[in-house]
Symmetry: C2
Subunit: 223 residues, 2 copies
């Protein structure tokens, strides 16, 4: 058992990790100087050795939450189907076109599953920040989406004419549905899984992605 040392070691990283966990359990409202300090067994003023103020610390935690979301999206895409390598040898398994659709749907589903499983972290990710993050999101959920849309066009799964508007259309729908789920604004009798699947189906129709072979049986409902 390690004696609590006077010098913490890596307080900055520890405070961010504590903030992430605090936000996961209580949302942005729980990001308080005293609470963060207490979580690391440190006095409140020690926080100011590593961050100019709470707003900057909170902005970093918000960024971490967005990055966790983006990682979940990327992982789901990879799990759904391999990334199409256009000049590689022909592989077994789904065609590149089907794979691209599966990946796209998995990304949207991961976004909604994240909102459902971690609603307070999701809130933290998109909270109104009063300070800028220290660096850009890495990975960025927006970039994951754009990449997937490019693949859809490259494989012929989506008309190229849809590409300019596609990011807005996809993000609006999925982010809006996530908001419904997180704030529990859905009308009575509609289950989260219904909202999720209806939204994803709607996005595919809105983007004129027609690839029925990519849809069923591949995404059984764990709920």
């Amino acid at each position: 058992m390690a004696e609590p040392a006077y010098h913490h070691g890596n307080l900055r990283a520890a405070l961010l990790a504590a903030g992430f966990e605090l936000a996961r359990r209580g949302g942005p409202a729980r990001l308080l100087v005293r609470e963060l300090a207490a979580a690391e067994g440190v006095s409140p003023s020690a926080v100011y050795r590593h961050f100019p103020d709470l707003a900057h610390l909170a902005a970093e935690v918000s960024r971490l939450a967005r990055e966790a979301l983006a990682r979940a999206m990327r992982a789901a895409a990879t799990a759904a189907a391999p990334r199409p390598t256009l000049d590689g040898p022909e592989r077994a398994g789904p065609t590149p076109r089907i794979a691209a659709v599966r990946r796209f749907r998995a990304i949207g589903r991961a976004y909604l599953d994240f909102a459902l499983a971690e609603p307070r972290l999701f809130d933290t990710a998109f909270m109104a920040a009063s300070a800028p993050p220290s660096c850009a999101d890495e990975p960025s959920a927006w970039d994951v989406l754009l990449e997937s849309l490019d693949d859809l066009v490259a494989t012929g799964a989506m008309p190229a004419a849809r590409l300019p508007d596609a990011p807005i259309v996809a993000w609006s729908s999925v982010h809006g549905a996530a908001g419904l789920l997180v704030r529990q604004l859905a009308p009575d009798g509609v289950t989260p899984a219904q909202i999720r699947d209806s939204t994803l189906d709607g996005v595919l129709r809105a983007l004129e992605i027609r690839e029925p072979a990519a849809l069923p049986a591949a995404t059984p409902d764990a709920r």
Copy 2:
């Protein structure tokens, strides 16, 4: 000029109106007991003569904001085209089917225009409330949407098969786009009008509403 009387007259209604105006200018964060009281030239404790606590007052203001949104939607629908009267005499003007599509699009557009014109009021409408409103929304934005979707099916503009999911699909998209607009999360170079129109077009495709005659020229951009 009326002498400020000791008895206010109708302080409850006046506080709600002041709250609405305060929220319009500063969002939910400006709904403070002292600020509300000052707006009516009254001491803070007078508020407690009419509301059990701030949470209940704020919940009422939030409801008023939602009702303002719903009224804007209804007004836009009426302005776009008359409500189809199925058993009435044949009128001049667009067919009932075209009218229904125009009304539907006008409703969505009004939602997004409201979010754009009054972002802080929009935030207030959907803020996390810690008390229930005293009564149901009247009118209710949700009901306006459902009514319009029923009309689309009744006039043959939308396949009946789309009806069960349509409320979720439409609300997710439009509410999500409104969130993008309000929080200014859109990527650089994309204008609010583009977000609005892309989203509405996407919803029509997602719901398989195909009525090109209802679309152009009827909705010039005021921006």
